[in-house]
Symmetry: D2
Subunit: 445 residues, 4 copies
């Protein structure tokens, strides 16, 4: 995401779609809706600024009132749907992420607790659960049935990868009297949500499709951080600690830790900053230089000389430029990543051997362990509040919309905005600078 | 903090003090400083907007370029101090808070690692360590001596409450050749830091005093969240879980949990949102109504009727209006809080008895347990980056300045700005609304 | 428990009661029952020795074959009950203890999984659930309904203190066709179980009553350690760590931690041994000496002189001899303990004041937090295996029997044996010696 | 270990070697040594019975007083070494294990705290640190220098695999005035310790060599459980939980977890019993049957049919009989294990494919993560007490001796006894029976 990209965004790019006029008075208790206009509350009619620096605001030119801004989240005084007659559905898609159950729990509680919704249906195993065949496994969800699920990792609804035919999925929603569909999923799943919303619009079906953005890699743009990310990098930091302990306890010990991150190295960066003793962080956004005086291999040997051990953290998508191009795809249609962990393990060991040095390299790949843990306290709060915001957005008739947090505020974003770009570690940004400072690693390229 | 307060702030209120011209080239590696102007990096000459809503920006009137904004944190190309000749000191003050050791660790690593500072001195036991007598216990800090402290709660430097004579403390700094003093402390300690900076200015001593704001209650304004806050409410949520477990396992079980929060109920709010099963949250910002149909006592009985148990979370500073006024002060000079936990325990039990009901109330006060734990992964990252920012600010000659985070950006704030107001839960804001939604408690008053 | 007590035990004291001949072939898979006679398996006809020292064995006199020994636990080839026609009931009694849900879970799985029992009924809220009124709340338990409860603290069945009329409870069992009752409870509850078994015998009702001994204080005799004890002292050690951190971070800091332990100081001893930095441990079994040169108060001052801080751990039942005798009783009929924590807090502070010293004492009482956490891995295994043993014992027609572990073996013990004495920290034993070595505290009296 | 093996053990096999007469009065405080003869304390002159079942005792024939028994651990009234003139050394060898630092910490505290030893030397990186070259890195250890290490995984002394020349190592000890060497290590390292003790005996050097047995696999015989084992299987259970969560969240999800255990499946068994949802456990002691109606592959498909997912735990040394024999050795000289995890992953996937089924198999290998964590509370206590026992044994002049726990008592064992056999899961024992009951897996062969 470059400055230019953000500069090109105008108010119209940030507007979300609404199903129609909001005419139903909200059943929320008067007290809940008697919000006052304060700096802690963004009124329905206000907007949350896209930019947060003076320079960016000034460079846009024009008047202050034309600065691009997002619609705020939160309860509305008047709704599109009549809650007592509204049926809602929930589906969780794609890879596991800490907090999935918390989002489901929060949606169910808000739908029943404050709005008194007619029913909530949980579709099983991702979009597969919205096919004609899959819908048979759908389950009714109630506050009692979701009691206690916050403490569990995974998703009680199950999940799967891949999309399904939007028309068939819409049929399922219509058959079952679902007025609102909540899709908890990542980039691909949100495109699927958009497709369902588009199909509904085409048929004139007043169905709201609201996305709750999910990506453990934190690679969705215009969102402060996605839910589960803090939990995930906290768990990843434990793996780094284990590898660091091994490396320090062994003569010429090298700890090599591979973490999640196909296109974005956020988990690698944050987990490393959270840990003592990381010497090098490799991310997809920065080319990996192995050879030469300033290359990784020589650097590792210097670290062994200086401190007797070394710890290297690598995101799974880093260093792909070191491999020949490949056309292979995995089940989800993503390019199959080359095995950077294996390459580094071999190259570091061989390089050391070549210098007459027998190192003790431990390769740690925590893999699934990072994404299947229960949400930590921060993510629990975040998921609960995201779920509240999602229900408010849906009841007010927003569709093809995701709820997210921008500069600490809950906002509504068009789905197309968050699936149209990717959030990455900026090689010229604050975060990477902090990593360079903390590790003291060479600045590549 | 009301809208009016924020509206009255102008650019000049956000400007920080600098000791003099920055003429020394930074020793930071070229790569580290070759930042480009991107949305992820705020250049030295740019500013971070105070406001984040369109309405607020528009209401100020005037041109976009006159919007009030903070100086960004981060490394500077040219410095005020010549690092190799610079001696730094660190002092930690006031109550414990998760992350103190991480800040100390981060300061030492940044001072030595990138700037090659001459020396770093740790003063012991808060401002007491800056008195003539106390300074004898000061210790030299090095990367080796702080190795591993991140995993420990508390502060290796020790701490104490209360202030000391600024002139005497400045004498200590001058005697020991300290050019930069880092003060890690809260409201009162930051006033002390201001006093030292003011005394230095009076004497013409070119000493930089940089504050790293510390408050487990998260009650400092113009800062997204203070370090340790996430760890603290995460730990508090465990206590709620214990009380909830007890309450659910017992017929007519009531869990009553008292949490920290003298003036601000953030820990109570966030810990409750992070937990399943909290029925009522009481905070200092909202009056507590005990009696009457909509009062707490009747509500608890209704909860017992409906679900067989009830869980009430109360911040220590809540409900003070229920007690007769008192002039008592504690050792730090703060008004001594009346025992709201004890009052609630007695009143709830008596009220139930009065209705012929023998409840089983468990009163949980985790107290110190919340503030003495090691920082979690998020706070570890935050402390490491705050420490980096603090060193950059100091080397560039900023003084009477705190480093903080605003809308996700590291910024410089005048000490007087953060000690001049208090961050509180806004009864009309988003957070409290989320609490009301999550608990379903009556809206008071 | 003195040597004399153990010496007086003879084979007949260790024999358990059986309802009648075992004539039903066990449905357990042939493989499960084709155990061979190895040192890892005690055959049905073998016995587990009471004594583990040569001296004790020799002092008994007589032949080796007359050494007193327990009946081993484990599956039997032939049963008293016909599993497919057997209804079982479960009740959890008294205070919470980590592992209660694991025992319930294990009982349900074993009853259905291997024996194919007819039904399992969960009685709610302790013995109250076995009264005529309370039995209305009883719930059917199945593998599906107990799925996931192992990760939760507390007990899904609820609990309460106090006994009920054995005749009324037996009526409930007979009314509901319960053949086997599992009672998970402590000293008092096990006496209640004995009373039900006795009443059943009196009426000639072939009902098996099996106790699963529960005491977080580990104060039941002839059992290696009770379930939940390891989890509990591990959690208590965290509280000690918090207090230690506070004490070390403050000049003249004193950490005072009160832990559970009415009559037995096991939690205090083990939690202290598990923690660094405990200076004094006070337990009910050893008188507390406050005054004089070798007293606690002078010792604490010496610790402050030597190391700048002090950490004191006290079991709630310690030092009762320092208070005037009282006749007060709590709801369970136990003598109300005098507040040793408060006394120590005041006396230590006053003594220091008297010596012109202003100490900073933090009093930590983790209370319920220790007993409401989920079982750790060890206790999870232990509970699962205890539950298996309990089901085997019941199916074979044992009654008025508890299952326990002795020298690492699962055994059957008569209820009367474990309720007839109390397990305590022996002032002359190995454990207390280890505590004295680890703390370096004065040897009292 | 079969019954026959244990039956063949006689009193003489259990006797440990002593350097000479004990003539030095112990400096331990009178109180510490005024132990009385109780069931909780085994006097110096008493013995701990080898057998714990009546049948075993009877089968030996002979008088009760001839039952084989171990020498108890604990402090002696008279010592062989004069503590104030005694220098001790510590070395940690082989793979990491939770608790290594606790043992080092405990040794240092006991040596200085109660005995006032002259010096304690830490040799670095295993036996490599006892070579002439390696000894240069040796460090002095004091209570201050080991402060806080209990909370860290790994070993502050470092470790390495493989042995060194006993004569050279003895030279190092003599050069440095080491009277007592504590070796914390496994099977191979303990043989090395025996060799040093033998070499010392050969030269007439009065040097005590005491082993603290370390094996994360718990595969040393005549020891209840080795330190770190509980921590290790607790951590392993977390990995199982992650895999279980993944499997349950996915249609036809299979979780496959590989755990440590070359020759003994204790970690696999205990970690599985500690977890909900394990369907199959494979250990080295029991052949793995893949094919046929009762084979693993068919069983997994049946599990998927019945419950929609399956969880399989495999010890790294299981199923080796499925591979062609190999002569490969690893660096420590152990036979290189064939990759059972990879084989199962492929065979299960292929078998399902062959039945037209596309499963989603997640393979989890927590590897080093299990052994590098800090000791849990139980292991912390155990290590502290083992260290105390080791120092007592050494001061009393025992050599070629390990300290261990048998039936809950601390005892002295000849090194040759514990290195001469291997502790394994008995296919006919209680533990495996519990696993079969908990999983419901087929009984092989």
């Amino acid at each position: 995401m470059h400055t230019g990209d953000q500069l090109s965004l105008r108010a119209e790019h940030l507007a979300v779609r609404t199903l129609g006029p909001t005419t139903v008075p909200s059943p929320l208790d008067g007290g809940l809706l008697r919000r006052q206009d304060t700096v802690h509350y963004v009124a329905e009619t206000d907007r949350v600024l896209l930019d947060d620096t003076l320079d960016m605001a000034v460079r846009r030119g024009g008047a202050t009132r034309d600065l691009p801004a997002f619609e705020p989240g939160g309860p509305r005084a008047r709704l599109f749907f009549d809650p007592a007659r509204t049926g809602a559905g929930i589906v969780t898609c794609g890879g596991l992420c800490p907090g999935l159950n918390n989002v489901v729990h929060g949606l169910v509680l808000e739908l029943f607790g404050h709005y008194g919704a007619r029913s909530v249906t949980g579709f099983r195993h991702g979009y597969r659960g919205l096919t004609k065949a899959g819908a048979k496994d759908a389950v009714g969800l109630t506050p009692a049935s979701v009691d206690g699920i916050n403490g569990q990792g995974g998703t009680v609804l199950g999940t799967s990868r891949g999309g399904q035919d939007p028309a068939e999925m819409l049929d399922t929603l219509l058959d079952r009297g679902i007025d609102i569909l909540f899709v908890v999923g990542g980039d691909g799943s949100l495109r699927g949500a958009q497709a369902i919303a588009d199909e509904a619009a085409r048929r004139g079906a007043p169905i709201a499709v609201i996305g709750v953005p999910k990506t453990i890699d934190n690679d969705l743009p215009w969102i402060d951080a996605t839910f589960g990310f803090q939990t995930a990098f906290g768990r990843a930091a434990e793996s780094i600690r284990a590898a660091h302990t091994e490396a320090r306890s062994t003569p010429d010990g090298v700890g090599l830790i591979k973490l999640m991150g196909r296109h974005s190295g956020f988990i690698a960066c944050y987990a490393s900053l959270a840990s003592e003793g990381v010497d090098v962080v490799l991310v997809p956004e920065i080319p990996v230089i192995l050879d030469g005086e300033r290359g990784l291999l020589a650097h590792v040997l210097r670290l062994l000389d200086r401190q007797g051990h070394a710890v290297v953290v690598v995101a799974e998508g880093a260093g792909q430029e070191l491999f020949p191009p490949s056309e292979e795809r995995d089940a989800s249609g993503n390019a199959r990543l080359a095995d950077i962990g294996g390459l580094l393990r071999d190259r570091i060991t061989d390089h050391a051997s070549g210098h007459g040095r027998s190192i003790s390299l431990r390769y740690v790949d925590p893999g699934y362990a990072i994404r299947s843990v229960p949400a930590n306290a921060f993510d629990s709060v975040y998921c609960a509040r995201l779920a509240q915001a999602a229900v408010h957005a849906a009841m007010a008739g927003r569709t093809a919309t995701v709820v997210g947090r921008w500069h600490g505020r809950f906002v509504h974003l068009p789905i197309s905005l968050v699936t149209g770009a990717r959030n990455q570690v900026d090689p010229h940004g604050d975060l990477w600078l902090s990593v360079l400072e903390a590790t003291g690693q060479p600045v590549w390229p």
